[in-house]
Symmetry: C2
Subunit: 519 residues, 2 copies
């Protein structure tokens, strides 16, 4: 056997690298191949226990999802808070190993449910450690008083993107970073994180939004001008609904978090207000005023939130109007034509409907889906998963399955003839979400875990495992029933189709499948 | 004496250059220094006769305007239709010697009034020769059927600018190129130009606008989305009033020109429709439909056309709210902050009010000036001249003079500490316009020449010379009177303060100054 030690200057002084590598190799040699292999196998076996999805009756789908789960775990171990996840992982040089909002919007939902708490926590601490850089990034743009704008793309906290329409306009990313803190805490109840790290980040982000809005005398509301939403096929638009929604949510959550830490840990609270020079009374009052008076573009006739102020001035077509020979449009149309078209690259208003689903009834979700999805060309690998989840939510199972197929074997089958650029690592997490949140209907609402499963007719069964607070369970869905098996040493409570289900340690419960629950 | 011959590979094969240069030097030597000098002096003397502006009582102003007139004539002789005018002329490398809409918007008004017809004609032919490239430029963006988009910046007809917000959004330049044809013809009655060159250009430009608009179901009007107006401190806006106005004007003028050539020169007309594959009936009907149904943003309360759809959503401030230490904002503010501010780089809506002044009464012009000028930071050297002209038009003589001072000695006094980059050649033409169109009130309306002079209190008198159709005259303005001296061999008719004045060859007429004519 040949033993190799791999070390990095991230962890050792440059001049010590040779010595450290030799030590590693020597250590491996001492342990021997069999022992090393065994440790490796055990490590992966444990990962698979918690993150595997089993699909019966569809070998291609089974292979697809396992390929994705393997690569997600291969890319990020969660041991080092200085590291994050590039859209291509280590499989290609595109995007240069840098970090995007993909981490918060797509990867965290995966790791939060399948990996130990520390893994997601480290992804959050990564952003905390970049807070000062985010404040400097905002300062460069003219913001003051500790307002923080996280970069669109980064490797060390500084903005690494080079286009103005992205760097200072695609600011919704700031919302995703705040939302990830909320999402982490609702899954883990790790309020210590909020005290130690989260609150400072939330204050910086809320301050950014409070300075980024302006009062429109015409609309008599606060507006957010000159942004790029998740749909990068529009730039420099006014009042992107998703961005406005995210901004308001951030200010609301930051104010709540200020109140919580003030009560839960007054000493730490004092430290934070001193460090951030935070004027709690006036700043939170300002946030509240903005929250109460934000403008949201809405079309009364359609009863649909508008992606942005000028959206209905565009020529209204649907993706089916585009000749197949011109798809994807980003390879056939000029940027001029794309920007002026109504076609949507990836979920934008629907991304907001997904994130804030609790606030809307099924009819509202359906109306928005039926308006926006036909206008969406899904030319981002991050697009189909949100559509799968929402299609499932409105009982459009065929559509959900169609959308799911777009991502499930994207790289294995090299649909887009671009796999030489590397794998779509972050969108792989979206495929996991498609199954668990889409077909499985997993949600967290008011501190409770909910599952509302449906199952594609093409599958006999599927199962996945979820960590939630101190629970650990497997959900298995067949064409007839849903079973929940506990792997916890505490009694589990969750809601299946709105009915509370209690599962004792080591036991299982079975509930009849309700394929029409959302119909 | 030492004789030097300068030749260019533009005119001779590379391998012949040395020989040709030697011939030139030999020719000069044969003529001798005195004869060469005399020819040079005579040539310049003739230029000065036609283009000089004399200002009495203000030596600094006199020096300023002559410095400008010298450089304009030094930069462009009008002998070669392959050449044009760079914003820095030959005085600096900034802008790389390329051509902008500055030529049509600023330089042509100068040359048209001071130089032989052929000089301006060659500037127009320059664009005619680039028509095929303009069509290709539009094709690259997805336009069809001979639609032409002239480049923002060019050296050979191809677009040489590199920013999308300029190249395919600052499309109002197409209007300036069409308007220059109209402006040339109304000064010269050279309708042969329209037949030979102009109409093809107009058809290409009108076709562009017809494809560039789209129908808004919401507004029930045609709209022009995603443009940058003359105010480059906004990008990607919808319904920039100036652009919409220019587009409509182009389609109207193109349709009229089609009709004119059809009647004036049926043979040439047939050639053109064959060459351009022009379907006169349906295409002009389409243009008319757009002209009749174009959307123009207008604020009812203010009774002011809006620079763009979202302008009133911006925080409304005036330039006086900006601390002096932060001026110019383009050296102190982030691009994010500039784009979202209400501050205007250079005349935008007012540029349209200037171009289409005939359509508006003094009250309307005043209302627009009073709304937009205070929001304008004049951070383009092309800004003050239009404001001088409009300020004079609404009897704000102090403001007109203040604006005039901003450009008159811009380079001589190096106000902006940037003269090392080269002189502002194209804005020098704006200074000439400030005097002739601003203080002199020179206009062409319905085929007639109008002058409505006022005079700054700081000056004893000023005079300028104008070519118009077959006329050639000098206008001299004192604090008491306006005199018009003919240099024509035909009787001149013009309107001074709306009164017709007839001047016989070699004679002069005197009219009392009406400083309050526009009050």
């Amino acid at each position: 056997h040949k033993y190799v030690g791999i070390v990095s200057s991230l962890n050792h002084p440059y001049e010590a690298l040779l010595q450290k590598a030799a030590e590693k190799a020597e250590y491996a040699k001492q342990k021997g191949f069999e022992a090393m292999l065994k440790a490796h196998v055990n490590h992966w076996a444990n990962i698979w226990i918690h993150s595997d999805i089993k699909i019966e009756g569809d070998v291609a789908a089974q292979q697809g999802i396992r390929f994705n789960i393997f690569h997600l775990n291969q890319t990020y171990t969660g041991d080092d808070e200085r590291l994050n996840i590039g859209p291509k992982g280590f499989t290609g040089e595109k995007y240069g190993g840098t970090t995007y909002w993909d981490t918060e919007a797509y990867c965290i939902p995966f790791f939060i449910a399948t990996a130990p708490t520390s893994v997601t926590r480290n992804l959050l601490v990564y952003r905390y450690k970049h807070l000062q850089k985010a404040i400097e990034n905002a300062q460069k743009l003219g913001f003051t008083n500790g307002a923080a704008l996280y970069p669109m793309v980064t490797i060390n906290g500084e903005e690494c993107h080079n286009e103005w329409e992205i760097t200072f306009e695609e600011i919704h990313r700031n919302g995703a970073i705040a939302f990830a803190i909320f999402n982490y805490i609702r899954h883990t109840e790790d309020y210590a994180y909020l005290e130690e790290y989260g609150l400072e980040v939330l204050i910086g982000i809320a301050r950014f939004w409070a300075q980024r809005v302006n009062w429109s005398v015409e609309k008599k509301k606060f507006v957010i001008l000159g942004v790029t939403g998740p749909n990068e096929y529009e730039n420099n638009v006014n009042n992107n609904w998703y961005t406005n929604k995210m901004a308001v949510w951030c200010m609301k959550y930051a104010a709540e978090s200020v109140e919580r830490v003030k009560n839960s840990n007054p000493a730490r609270y004092k430290e934070i207000i001193d460090k951030t020079n935070f004027d709690a009374a006036s700043e939170t009052a300002e946030w509240k005023n903005i929250v109460d008076n934000m403008y949201f573009p809405y079309n009364e006739e359609l009863q649909v939130f508008m992606q942005q102020d000028g959206y209905m001035d565009k020529l209204q077509l649907t993706a089916s109007d585009i000749p197949l020979a011109e798809r994807p449009i980003n390879q056939h149309w000029s940027w001029d034509r794309i920007l002026r078209s109504c076609f949507i690259k990836q979920a934008d208003t629907l991304q907001g409907i997904y994130v804030f689903e609790d606030e809307y009834d099924t009819e509202t979700i359906r109306r928005h889906f039926n308006f926006y999805e036909p206008r969406t060309v899904h030319e981002s690998s991050l697009s189909p998963c949100v559509h799968t989840i929402l299609a499932a939510r409105i009982a459009k199972l065929d559509k959900a399955y169609e959308m799911y197929l777009r991502t499930s074997r994207l790289d294995l089958d090299d649909y887009n003839r671009e796999v030489h650029e590397g794998l779509h690592i972050t969108s792989m997490a979206g495929t996991w979400m498609s199954i668990v949140e889409g077909f499985g209907g997993k949600r967290v609402q008011n501190g409770n875990l909910l599952v509302n499963p449906i199952i594609p007719v093409q599958w006999n069964s599927y199962s996945f495992r979820i960590r939630f607070k101190e629970s650990d369970m497997e959900i298995r869905v067949t064409q007839k029933e849903v079973s929940i098996s506990s792997h916890s040493d505490k009694t589990i409570e969750l809601y299946v189709y709105s009915e509370k289900v209690v599962v004792k340690p080591g036991e299982s419960k079975v509930v009849a499948l309700k394929p029409d629950y959302y119909a």
